[in-house]
Symmetry: C2
Subunit: 134 residues, 2 copies
Amino acid sequence: MMQQIEKRSHREVPNEEINMKTCPKQYVLAVGDALNAFTGKWKLFIIGALIPGKQRFSELEKNIPKINPRMLSKELRDLEANGIVKRKVNDSLPVSVEYELTPSGYAMRLMFDSMIDWGMQHRAWSMPGKITRQ
Amino acid sequence: MMQQIEKRSHREVPNEEINMKTCPKQYVLAVGDALNAFTGKWKLFIIGALIPGKQRFSELEKNIPKINPRMLSKELRDLEANGIVKRKVNDSLPVSVEYELTPSGYAMRLMFDSMIDWGMQHRAWSMPGKITRQ
DNA sequence: CTGTATCCCGAGGGATACTG
DNA sequence: CAGTATCCCTCGGGATACAG
């Protein structure tokens, strides 16, 4: 079964280490970089819709309530340019286009999981009962 | 050395489990909740500036290049309302005010670390050399 | 089916001046 | 020192219509 050296989190110390103690600015900027990959009103929903597997444009349109084709198209282009999503055109008639997460895209789940962990801890700690989202 | 059952990632299944398989919508929304806590142009920088320890208003102003008092004030109020930052007024003369991260605020580092991990992996995988931030 | 083109609007955020 | 008050403007994003 395919030996994999995945390791899940750097421990062998990567080439350039970024941490709060020695380079706080780089640290914040690095977080901001990751953030840029999925901010915007729809990117997170698109990624979420693609986690279960590839989808066509019209399927995404159906599965993401209230998004309009302009936004869907734009955000998909952004995500593709950023290497989160890959686009595959099937030369059938009529044409169909499939969108799928790249390995980087799928890898976002670990990050999302840790965000959810924080969110739940945060509620438990500081706002037992109250929710701050509009 | 203080036995700690920290575990870094939920495994004992918390009361309400949120995961992509069984409730994809809740999952995405939960990520969005965490996201809301530190979006906006300055929140991340403010949190970053406070990780090393408490700071006064004017110190933050100095340490965060190009922020203006209106924005600093507004973002600090948001962060306080969200339980990320706590504000403490010293009744000296002239008054001084100190801002400090709450436990939830400090706990964001785990989340940030996983975002940085993803960012570095992402670069290694899909954009050897190119950087997509304006 | 898979998008693009136009037009339009409101919120987020900058600059500057002012206050307790 | 620690903020508010005003004014202004950009830009993300909505609605609608059209195109290959």
